[in-house]
Subunit: 197 residues, 2 copies
DNA sequence: TTCCGGCGATAACAAAAGTTAATTTCCTAT
DNA sequence: ATAGGAAATTAACTTTTGTTATCGCCGGAA
């Protein structure tokens, strides 16, 4: 049994008291997906309503700016959810690309299938609320960082909270996620070194 | 019957086919709240898990930065939901203040009560998913603006999409929501006037 | 091993934003 | 209607970021 299924069963039990043995209607419609480093999971224009739980590795969601540069919206790593939000929320083709930064293992479900399962087995609903709230919480935290912190402070924050992730990801993606250029991030790092820390 | 209840009944019918006549278990636990301009709805430190639908007026959520300045996280207006996210998502005291910018009319529910109602009447669940997705969608759109657009572009965007709202709200709150200072917003406006548009 | 390409650091300059303070404009409460 | 205060503009100056280009380093591919 995959690690992901075990942790999600555990989560489901905590949320709604559903025993692992009773969770098969849900996990019967999930499947494991393995991606190589740099492999694309969702392309721009894709219509699939994919929702996935990350078992191993780091995923990156990005879009292209008018000038053609990539803009990284967020990174997601182990034990987080990643979802094609354009397709799931708005039923529109994805404007974002979702790509593996490392070798990645996902536990995937199609959101339409999930909805159908929820209809028949409402006892799984808390799991859906959980992942929606988690994603909402993460987005709000990011918004908060943008309105309350300077780029340097956002970077310090990220280092303090996710040092391991920062170290596994090329700086240019970190910079873009912070809303600045790689050159500017390099200068921030230099300033931090010069000023003792 | 309040305008809000009618629109939410309509929404509930579209989402799950529940007839307005069958929605009383839900609306029996909501109440109308009226706030004067500048009145505080949720204070920093409040633990109430308030969720509200805005019938009339504009609300502002803000927090205090280390330096003591206010940072506006977002504005919400007619037909949007506003929620004390720290208390609802994390069950922690609110770090944000929610305040009316104009005279405001809300339809309010306590999230704990909502959960209890959902347990007994699962046919209302789609409404909860709807508001979670709406808030998620709005947050993601804001994050996207921060990583893909310059402050000036974000301001132009906001004008194009919400001219009415921008005009009803003091510039300093708009500036803060865009992640810049009021002085900087003033300069952006000047540049836009000078350059023909 | 060698070559190539991407990544990060650095430099130089332009543009934008932060900071502080003064001035004007606007709104509101009396 | 008026006075007081808050909000917006403007100015002067500092700091930071963007832009473009160069250089060195490292790692994968031939």
């Amino acid at each position: 049994m995959s690690v992901s299924i075990s942790s999600l069963q555990q989560l489901l039990f905590e949320l709604s008291g559903v025993l692992p043995a009773d969770s098969s209607p849900l996990f019967a419609v999930t499947r494991q997906v393995k991606l190589h480093a740099n492999e694309t999971y969702i392309r721009e224009g894709d219509q699939d309503r994919r929702l996935a739980y990350i078992e191993k590795g780091i995923m990156r969601a990005y879009t292209l700016k008018q000038n053609g540069d990539e803009a990284t919206l967020f990174l997601r790593w182990e034990k987080q959810f990643i979802a094609s939000h354009d397709t799931i929320i708005h039923r529109k083709p994805s404007r974002f690309v979702y790509r593996a930064l490392e070798d990645v293992t996902l536990l995937e479900i199609d959101y339409d299938v999930l909805e159908a399962v929820m209809k028949v087995y409402p006892q799984f609903e808390p799991l859906r609320n959980f992942f929606l709230m988690r994603m909402l919480s993460e987005s709000l935290a990011m918004m908060e960082a943008f309105v309350t912190l300077s780029p340097e402070e956002r970077y310090r924050n990220l280092l303090a909270e996710r040092f391991d992730v920062v170290n596994r990801v090329p700086d240019k993606y970190i910079a873009s996620m912070l809303g600045i250029t790689p050159v500017s991030l390099s200068r921030i790092r230099k300033r931090m070194l010069e000023k003792g820390k």
